[in-house]
Point group: C2
Chain length 154, copies 2
């Protein structure tokens, strides 16, 4: 029972609030744009991108780990994408439980069309806002936080 919780000091609060606001607006804008001009959700985009980047054919669990998602999420996502014809599922002969996820031609076409547009938006909304030095700093800070998170329990 902590009698007096240690609130954040003004600078800390400013950093946290600013970061949260920025991240929400940025991600929001970007995903709306991606969705609007490629008819793909950000989830579709990243899954297809990683999948094709890796050759267009992967074991389900490998893909899940590559994208760093939970398997349930990927399972649902792949099911939806399969329904829309972006990927297909194939059985795995080596492992009776396993399955391969394959990018369909339609899927390849979709990602090839979407990728440059995506990059342009990232550039326009984010990269162009900052100097190269600021980008480097942000990368360093991000990696610091990531490393910290990995050390931290749960």
């Amino acid at each position: 029972m902590n009698a007096t919780p240690r609130w954040l000091n003004p600078e800390q609060q400013a950093a946290w609030d600013g970061f949260i606001r920025m991240q929400e607006k940025l991600i929001g804008r970007l995903s709306r744009r991606v969705q609007a001009d490629s008819r793909m959700s950000p989830a579709d985009y990243i899954v297809l991108a990683k999948l094709t980047e890796a050759g267009g054919r992967m074991r389900f669990m490998d893909l899940t780990k590559l994208v760093e998602w939970e398997k349930s999420r990927m399972s649902h996502q792949v099911a939806r994408m399969a329904k829309r014809g972006l990927v297909a599922k194939e059985e795995c002969p080596d492992d009776g439980r396993g399955s391969f996820i394959v990018a369909t031609p339609a899927g390849r076409e979709a990602i090839e069309e979407a990728a440059p547009v995506h990059v342009e938006h990232v550039r326009r909304l984010f990269i162009d806002a900052l100097t190269q030095e600021e980008l480097d700093t942000l990368a360093r800070i991000s990696n610091r936080v990531l490393a910290h998170l990995e050390k931290q329990p749960d």
Copy 2:
């Protein structure tokens, strides 16, 4: 039709990837923690926090603007929160269409219990990962991106 799309250079790519990864993991961890030990979603948390911070009684649209959400989102959210007894809706005498959102005692109790825990997690997962100088830098960068976004069409 852009013949050769300008991909990001390695430093830009590293900054973007790092930021995205960091933000996903951080937000993910935090919202799981909040949910786990307060039985409130991040959405519940922020709505209740802003609402009580503003006195615990607000016009629906003022609250919506304060939280910077779309009204539809807030409408659904408030409906769910009302169902769970965290807030209540009251009619507005001045404006026949309007309504007030009021934090119930249960809502106040919930947020007062959740807030210190939330702060502790923010501190543990984020603040403690960085020096004060890095926090300041991040705040500056965030505000830069935010300002840039506001100038940018759509």
